[in-house]
Every structure is written in C-alpha cells, then in structure tokens.
C-alpha cells in the first residue's frame, strides 16, 4: 500500500502536470552555449515556440538598449536547427578559457562555421514591432542579427503592437517576433504564448516604461511568458592602466522561468566581431535569489 502510493503519486503528479501545461520545450530549445546558463534552463536552453519577456533596469527601462541587444543576439542564432534537449549541450559545447586576473571563467561561444570568410546570413523574417523607430542597423549587426532580416512595424499604441505580434505569430516563414510594449494585459500575454506554442515561432516581449509609476505598476503584474529576464548594465572593467571603457558587462537575471529556478549571472560582452552574444560569465551564481542587493558592485 505504502509502496504503491510512493510510486503512483509522483507518476500521477507528473501526468497532471503534463495535462495542465504542455511542455514548454515542445518545439526544442536554443542553447546559449554557456553551460552555467543552459543547465539552469529546463531542456538545456531557451525554449523555442514560446513567449519570453525581457526587462531593462534603471534608466535603461525606458530605452531598452540592453534588452534589444540581448534579443538580437538570441535571434541571430535562432536560425540554427532546433536540437533535442539531450543533444544540445554536447553539440554546441562552449570553449573555456581562464580569464586574466583569475576571476571566474571566460566562456566564449564561437560562431557557426564561417562561409567564405563572411558571417553566415540568417534565414527568414524577424518581425520587430515598436512604437518608436530607434533601432539602429549597425548595432543589430554587431550583435549577430542581420538587419536585412528585420521588418520593422511601427505602431503607436501597445494594443496595436500586441495585435501585430499575434498576427506575426500565425504567419509562416517568420523566425521570431519581437514587440516593445509598456503595458501588457495578462490576457494578451496568454494569447501570445498560445499563438507561439501553436506555430513554434519564438516571441520576445521587450518592456519599455516611460516613467517610474508605470514601471512599478507593470513590474508586479504576472503574465504568461515562459521566462522573464532582466538585463542590467554593469560598469566595465578595462584592463588596468588603460584609459577609456572596456567591453560592456551585463548582469543577466533570470527572474522567472517555468519549470526552472531563478538565477543570475554576470557577463562580459565583447564588441569584437568574433563573438555573437553572451560571451563570458565572469562569475556565475546559479542559485542566486531574486534580490539584487546581495551582489557586489564590481568596478
């Protein structure tokens, strides 16, 4: 009796869980290629065919520059064929090299093989819906997203942006849909998540807030996105004795993740053309709690 309960209960729980929410990784995952991050995410990478929410931090909540760069880097690699969760880590294993100064590990994610010495071009269309046309092509290219792939959709109101995103999630030959919105009703996020699940197109919501009041209000609201990230700028650490700024450094926080634990990493993002996006984790703290105050301010 006790034995039956012991084996049966977890099995039933698993079945109920599966009925309640289909696996978020049904369409495969996109590994970051950084083991510390991929091990935290269920399935070993960012779920394709799902809605992901990306927040800025501090003053960047208004501009969304870091969030856009983060998303551009991800979409730039989305053209790689989906891999099953088990294969992902072995196929795109990161190369590790110790960082000067001995603080943590430098993990770089190499590009897919180059064709003819030129960066490979992506396939398909990226629909980027935004209220203000401030996205800059060379900046996107620097983060590995071919600007020629991007179709910009300008709509002044959040409702129209959400509508355009949903339309995009139903169309074929779309690689990814990005929307920059301020307010996000829970129903709208649910609709986007369902549309993304159905079509297998990955959707990204960049949150941009005009003022602190709106930010405080919206930050607390729940929504249906599978993951919620916050990208914050950190002071750069140029080599000792050199003037000017070093490579940009980010604090990437995974605030919420369906089927996973929240986590936080600090990364260095080189501007060089050799690397696509998240390149180095200076110090990874996978079990970090949500509160950001515990972190040492570097630099």
């Amino acid at each position: 009796m006790v034995d039956a309960a012991r084996t049966l209960l977890p099995e039933l729980r698993e079945r109920i869980r599966r009925i309640e929410r289909p696996a978020a990784t049904a369409h495969g995952v996109l590994p970051f290629g950084v083991a510390a991050i991929d091990l935290t995410l269920p399935g070993g990478g960012l779920a394709r065919g799902a809605l992901h929410e990306i927040l800025g931090a501090g003053g960047d909540e208004e501009d969304g520059a870091l969030a856009a760069a983060f998303v551009a880097g991800i979409i730039g690699r989305l053209t790689i064929q989906p891999t099953s969760p088990s294969q992902s880590l072995t196929r795109l294993g990161p190369s590790l090299s110790p960082l000067k100064g001995g603080e943590g590990l430098k993990i770089s994610f190499p590009l897919p093989p180059r064709a003819g010495g030129r960066r490979p071009t992506g396939d398909g269309v990226v629909l980027w819906c935004l209220p203000r046309l401030d996205l800059y092509g060379p900046g996107l290219a620097a983060h590995g997203l071919d600007p020629g792939q991007v179709v910009l959709v300008r709509a002044p109101r959040d409702a129209e942006i959400l509508w355009a995103m949903e339309e995009g999630l139903r169309a074929p030959a779309i690689v990814a849909v990005v929307g920059e919105v301020g307010s996000l009703p829970a129903v709208a996020s649910r609709r986007l998540q369902l549309a993304a699940e159905r079509s297998g197109i990955t959707a990204f919501l960049l949150r941009r807030w005009r003022d602190g009041g709106q930010a405080a209000r919206e930050r607390a609201l729940p929504n249906a996105a599978v993951t919620r990230w916050r990208i914050a700028a950190l002071p750069s650490q140029p080599p000792r004795g050199e003037p000017g700024g070093g490579s940009p450094r980010w604090r990437v926080e995974l605030l919420r993740c369906r089927g996973g634990e929240p986590a936080c990493w600090e990364m260095e993002v080189p501007d060089a053309t050799d690397h696509v996006s998240l390149a180095a984790a200076l110090a990874d703290r996978p079990a970090a709690p949500r509160s950001a105050q515990k972190f040492r301010r570097a630099g």
């Binding site: 003053g59 996205l135 620097a142 179709v151 501007d271």
Partner: protein, 482 residues
C-alpha cells in the same frame, strides 16, 4: 437683379445664403454616385455632371434605357435635372441645356451632332455672355449660322474660344474628360434589388465580387496591387474601402480577409444598393504552383506577403519598413529605413521571370543575400562600435566639461543626472561637404564620445561645433549602447 429690387417686387420672398462650397461638394457627391454608370465621371461647371458612357451603355440596355434609368433615379432623389447623350461633351452640354425636349432625355444619334445643334442659340456653345452678345449683335443667333463661317475670321473677331468651342462640339477638336477619381482597369459590380445594411451580408457580397474579379485576373495572368471597393448607399452617398497589397495578389481568401478587417469603417446608412469592386493597379502574376498542405515551402513567401498586407492595411503601409545599409559616415545616414513594398533594385534590373518570382520570398528577403548589402552592414559594425538605439533627431543635453577636447564629466539628460566614469573618443565625423547642408554649417563637425556613467550605462554623445567659434558648442546624445 439685386436682392433689394427682388424683395420690392415680391415682398415675403424666401431667401437663402449662397453656399458655393457646399454646392460644389454636393455636385461632387452626385458625380461620384454617377460612378454606377461608368467610372469616367466628373462634375461639370457648377451645375452639371459629365459621364463617359462609351462602352458601358450596353450594360443598361442601350443609351436610351440608361438615360431613362438615370432620370428616374434622379427624380426619386429629388434632383431636378435634364439628361442628354451625344457624341461630344460640347454637344451633350448644349442639348441638355437648350434642346426643346420637355422632360424626357435628349439622345443625339451618332453622327447627327451638326443637325442637332444647328437650331440652338449660340449660348449653347459654352460661351461667356459678352462673347455671345457680340455674336448676336452681328446677327449670328444660332449655332448653325456659324458652320459656314471661316474659323480664322471667327477667331479674329471674337477670340479663340468661339472657334474652339464650335470645333469641340462638332468633334473636330478632341476634348478630354478628366475623371473624378482614378479609372480602374478592371471593375466588377453587384446591384441589389433590396438594399441591406448587415455587415455579414456586405461581406458575402464582397466575397462574390472578389471571386468575379479574381477570375478575370487569373485569365489575364495579373494580380491586384491596389483595390477599391465602393458601397453606393440608398441616399446617394458613396462609402469606400481602398487598400493595397505588398505583392500582386489574386488569392480570394487573402483579399477577402483584407476587406473584412476594414469593413467596420463602412457606414451603410439606410442601406447599400450597389457595390463596385475595382482594381486600380494590377501587375503581372504568372500562374503559380500551390504548395501541398503541410509542405509549406511554396506557401511561405505568400504567407509573408499576406502578413505584411494585413499589418499594412491596418497600421498604414508606411508603418512597415526595413533597414538598409548605406555608404555614409553620418550615423543617421548609414542605416536608412525603406518601405517593405518597394521592389528591390535587383528585381528592377532584370525583368522578373516566373522562376524568380517563385523563389523570391519578398523584397525584404531578396535584398538580404545581396553581397553589397552584407558588406555595407559589415562596414557599419566594424570598429568603432555603434549603438543599438539611435535617436533621430539627437536629443540635446546639458553637459559640463573641463578642457575643449574633453568629454563631459557630468551631463543631464531627460532630467536625469549622469556622472561620467569612463569615456572613449573623440571620433570626429564631419558633414559630407558635397551635400548642400554640409558645407560651411556651424554644426558641420561632430565629435563623438562613448561615455559610461556610474551605473554602467553607455551613451553616444557628440559635441556639435568647435570651441572658439561664434557659437558655443552644443552637446547631444545620439544613441545608447548595449
């Protein structure tokens, strides 16, 4: 006659202020309503409407039947009017106003214009009163009396207009009719015995019209680029939906979905009695292999085009754009937005073959593989780094700096204060001297700095102008780095 005189003759005369603008608008609406007879309609002066019915009269059972139908409908709407049909605009104008025909329409049979006009007064030639009076003074009272006159003598005595008007009326001189709107190349029409207002019925009717039009387009091997669906209301107003497509299309479901989205903008009033669907612009669209369901390869390109159409027709086609690299050092010119619907230069150079049309997904994608474009982006993102967000126009800020070539140590932007901890620069970018706005302007030289504040946010600032000039240099933030 002045109003005061008239009132003295007839006290209690009802008067109303003249409203020429209102009258013109009403006449224009009437001309638009006449679009049910032919696409070529235009208001004529202040009291007439011209309709070119060549080629469309047979649809109504001949000219006489068409004129009778028009007269009946005008009467029903309470419009007092006279209808005349003739070979030329001048002859129709003259017979409508001066022919003795009572209430019925005047039909001048083809080739009998001379005879029909001969007995009409000279005013029937659309002359101004002074010229007409001059003709009368020399005894020329009827149009027929002018036939024998030498044209140059007429012109010498009474000016060019008399001869010109006479020639136009007699079809010796062509007179073009400029239509009110665009003249569609393909048009289908549906009339209803019983007017209706239900949106669902409107949609059904629209689908039937689309099916008719698509059939014609398929026979010609063309696809519609711009469409116009006109709803003729019982009260004579005309409601319209106009839309465009990113690529030529003759997919009935796609076109129907485009109209459906806009159908709520149509006010059916008391009812719709006529619907006319017109293709204003068509482009060649060879027959295409439709992909098997499930094998989406063939359907993908159409999917993108249809998505762009849906977005464009709701948000406006100018809301859609894509980025293109340009060879320029000026940051805002290095990346320009171009409309998605624009055909790419590559497709203009070579005439599109069926194969290229099939394989080319959309202009946006066609361009992408272009090596020149790729090289442009590569040039753009190679060092020095460029921001991911660029503000156009640059936003002014308040900066504090020490030495002339130093970056600011503190600046205030959007009412927020930033302390600069690190800075790179300057990178000097000068206006392109070969452009008119670039030569000799005070702000022609910009010194860009990449600065980092204590939070770690990185901005792209520039100083416009030089120290020691007549204007103090100004600072702007042009972009934000990731």
């Amino acid at each position: 006659m002045p109003l005061a005189d008239a009132l003295s003759f007839l006290p209690g005369l009802a008067t109303a202020a003249a409203e020429p603008a209102e009258d013109a608008a009403a006449l224009r609406r009437l001309a638009e309503w006449c679009g049910r007879y032919s696409p070529w309609t235009a208001p004529d002066g202040v009291d007439g409407v011209r309709i070119e019915i060549t080629g469309s009269a047979h649809l109504w059972g001949g000219e006489r039947a068409l004129a009778a139908d028009l007269k009946t409908r005008l009467d029903r709407r309470g419009v007092i009017g006279r209808v005349a049909v003739a070979d030329t605009i001048g002859a129709a104008w003259a017979t409508a106003r001066f022919a003795e025909a009572g209430d019925s329409a005047v039909i001048v049979p083809p080739g009998e214009v001379r005879a029909a006009l001969a007995s009409l007064p000279v005013e029937a030639l659309r002359l101004d009163p002074t010229t007409a009076q001059g003709l009368r003074r020399v005894g020329l009272k009827q149009v027929g009396e002018l036939y024998a006159m030498p044209r140059d003598a007429l012109a010498r005595r009474f000016g060019e207009t008399v001869a010109q008007r006479l020639d136009q009326a007699l079809d010796d001189l062509p007179e073009p009719l400029s239509p009110l709107g665009e003249v569609p190349t393909r048009r289908v029409r549906l009339s209803f015995a019983e007017p209706f207002t239900e949106p669902a019925d409107l949609m059904l009717a629209a689908e039937r019209l689309i099916a008719d039009l698509v059939q014609r387009l398929a026979q010609e091997g063309t696809g519609a680029r711009r469409l116009d669906l006109a709803f003729h209301r019982v009260d004579g107003r005309v409601e319209r939906i106009r839309l465009g497509t990113a690529r030529p299309s003759r997919d009935p479901r796609h076109l129907a979905s485009l109209f459906k989205e806009r159908l709520d903008t149509v006010d059916p009033g008391l009812g719709i009695e006529d619907m006319i669907l017109a293709a204003l612009a068509v482009e060649p669209l060879p027959p295409q292999q439709i992909g098997l369901p499930g094998h989406a390869a063939g359907n993908e390109t159409r999917g993108i085009a249809q998505l762009l159409d849906r977005l464009g027709n709701r948000l406006g086609l100018d809301a859609l754009s894509r980025l293109e690299a340009r060879a320029s050092h000026i940051p805002e010119r290095a990346s320009v937005r171009v409309p998605v619907a624009l055909p790419s230069p590559a497709s203009l150079r070579s005439a599109p073959s069926p194969a290229s049309l099939r394989s080319a997904p959309s202009p946006a994608l066609r361009e992408r593989g272009d090596p020149a474009q790729r090289a442009g982006w590569v040039r753009g993102y190679l060092k020095p780094p460029r921001p991911i967000r660029l503000f156009d126009p640059p936003e002014p800020l308040e900066a504090f700096w020490l030495l002339p070539d130093d970056p600011p140590f503190r600046f205030t932007w959007r009412r927020r204060r930033h302390r600069v901890t690190r800075a790179d620069g300057p990178e000097r970018i000068a206006e392109e001297w070969w452009r008119p706005e670039g030569s000799g302007a005070v702000d022609a030289i910009r010194d860009y700095y990449r600065v980092e504040d204590e939070e770690g946010r990185r901005f792209w600032l520039f100083r416009a102008g030089l120290h020691g000039g007549e204007h103090a240099p100004r600072w702007f933030v042009h972009g934000v780095f990731s």
